[in-house]
Symmetry: C2
Subunit: 353 residues, 2 copies
């Protein structure tokens, strides 16, 4: 049985909708006081991710406040390398780190192909809990980081600014890097299929760091594997097709190629006009985005103006999932998110008659 509010599913398949669907990347996050309280209670971020009841609660928090058109399971892209034995931890100010970064062929060879139903069972349990709580009223989005993006953290040993270690590997031992990306692709396919089995109705692939590559390297080291993953998904679940959103930050120059990956929607960041993106891609896939996350710092009146402007650029017809062009900042006033969500619904109606 499909979710009652199926606006996002319909928009992903470019079917008619009454209003443009909207959700917010990182909608369950630090800008919400109730999230900060839950995290404080859990003690730390990882416990929040790894305790299904707490992850489910975090997933539901923004839905209680705002008329969002989708839930996204509360988790982190780095749970995969953590489950593969790299030992994820977080430091104040420095972001995620790994106790055991992997930097050579030997270490990559030794990486286990995990069973997500076992090592990442806490994610599936959280999805099942959310599924029960939501009573099919709203679709749940499942997600994974891209192989390239996960590899950057695994090889660098955490967040990076210069990506020195992985770029060195790319230019000196491309085959070793391919081995890692291949292995990650296998795990990601299993992981996302497990999420689909647990109840997610949409899948999103986050390629946060694809944009630091040259064109040729993006195609070879990132998009190639994303395409493979999309092909490997059980996109049919209970007779329904599971749509896939693919988002590479900083990918304006590659949109046409991304649209050919087999995905159902291309996520676009805020640096490109959505009408230009649409013109370049054509009607083949839906588009997700692309309000500047910083527009939420504006006054409520100005937020409405920005929303109106984006909807006008997006134009008539379906195939647009409203979102930010990147995750929401922790410094945003939650009331501004309400203004955004309500404005999208209210102002988009005239484009869907």
């Amino acid at each position: 049985m499909s979710a009652k509010n199926d606006r996002i599913i319909r928009a992903l398949f470019r079917q008619p909708v009454d209003q443009t669907p909207v959700w917010i990347m990182r909608q369950a996050g630090r800008y919400l006081p109730e999230y900060r309280a839950a995290r404080a209670k859990a003690g730390n971020f990882l416990t929040l991710c790894k305790t299904p009841e707490l992850a489910c609660e975090a997933t539901l928090q923004p839905l209680r406040r705002f008329q969002l058109d989708a839930a996204i399971i509360f988790s982190d892209i780095l749970t995969i390398p953590d489950a593969m034995g790299l030992g994820l931890y977080f430091t104040e100010g420095e972001g995620p780190r790994f106790q055991n970064p992997i930097r050579d062929r030997q270490a990559i060879n030794c990486l286990p192909i995990i069973d997500p139903e076992i090592e990442l069972r806490y994610v599936m349990d959280a999805i099942r809990l959310c599924h029960a709580e939501l009573k099919q009223e709203l679709p749940i989005i499942g997600f994974s980081g891209s192989p390239w993006t996960l590899a950057t953290y695994m090889v660098e040993g955490g967040a990076s600014k210069e990506f020195q270690v992985i770029k060195k590997l790319l230019y000196s031992e491309p085959k070793t890097l391919h081995l890692l990306l291949e292995k990650l692709s296998v795990v990601i396919i299993d992981y996302l299929n497990a999420q689909i089995k647990a109840g997610v109705e949409v899948v999103m692939l986050f390629d946060t760091w694809g944009g630091i590559l040259t064109t040729q390297d993006y195609y070879q080291f990132s998009l190639h594997y994303l395409t493979k993953i999309i092909q490997g998904l059980h996109c049919q679940q209970n007779g329904k097709r599971i749509p896939v959103i693919l988002f590479t930050k900083g990918s304006s120059q590659w949109l046409e190629k991304i649209a050919e990956s087999g995905c159902d929607a291309v996520g676009i960041d805020w640096t490109i006009d959505i009408n230009i993106a649409r013109k370049r891609i054509g009607d083949k896939v839906a588009l997700q985005g692309n309000l500047d996350p910083a527009a939420l710092y504006a006054s409520p009146e100005n937020i409405r103006i920005e929303v109106a402007s984006l909807l006008e650029k997006s134009g008539k017809g379906s195939g647009h999932i409203f979102n930010l062009g990147h995750g929401i900042s922790q410094y945003v006033d939650p009331e501004h998110v309400r203004v955004l969500v309500d404005a999208v619904h209210e102002l988009s109606r005239s484009y869907h008659i």
Copy 2:
């Protein structure tokens, strides 16, 4: 009298050359042991910038090692706000900071329009010293940060990751921000004209942070002022035209517009193929770039392969200034730079017959 090696000038005007000219962004920098020694002797980075003899020495250091086709005056884009009274200082690990960031209309109104011949005289003195040392053998490139890029540091109070303060200003008080950008444009025009008078033969505008803007905001808050600055330059000096290179990092989606700014060359980062950029822009302007800075981590053999591949994409004829797509990393082996520079000269000859 023009410089004896005028390859870069000729390439900027798309005139025939014997070899593709090459220089490296941040070529006088921390990857050179002699630079690190000079900086240690000076005590800190700012003293190096502000002491003409030391800045001249830093400028000349890479020229003694490599067959580069241009010098770029050793300085920092933040000397302008420093001279305007913001009090620049550097902290270990955190990068540049300002003692007195400016965040409201009042502070912007009070910002002085400085006379670069007085407050930034140390830059002109360094240029004059280099000019005398180089005996016209090599052109000197002068530069400035763009108004938008300087404004990000001035408003944020230093380097930023989220650009929260300036984005808030942009969305809530665009007129106040325009006031600051207008003021900076006036100062930058004076500053670059002073550099031209002191002897630079090429001018480069660094718009490091233009790429974080939406398309409309990039045009209004960055490119608009860059166009104005180019119009305000004394591009004729002793009967010679002074060519201008404009570089906005992360601007692949806006190349056509940038080429219409009045600049002589567009700098491109490494995320776009130079043949695609050329196809989109046409023959109107030269192109500078665009090797992935991380390619210098590769082995000498692979560096030569990367250079060959870029030269092939660039193709026959003039109008290409070889460079990285961003500043060189401090972790690069200087010997790899030699391999790069020599490979560009050697392998490019066949494209210029």
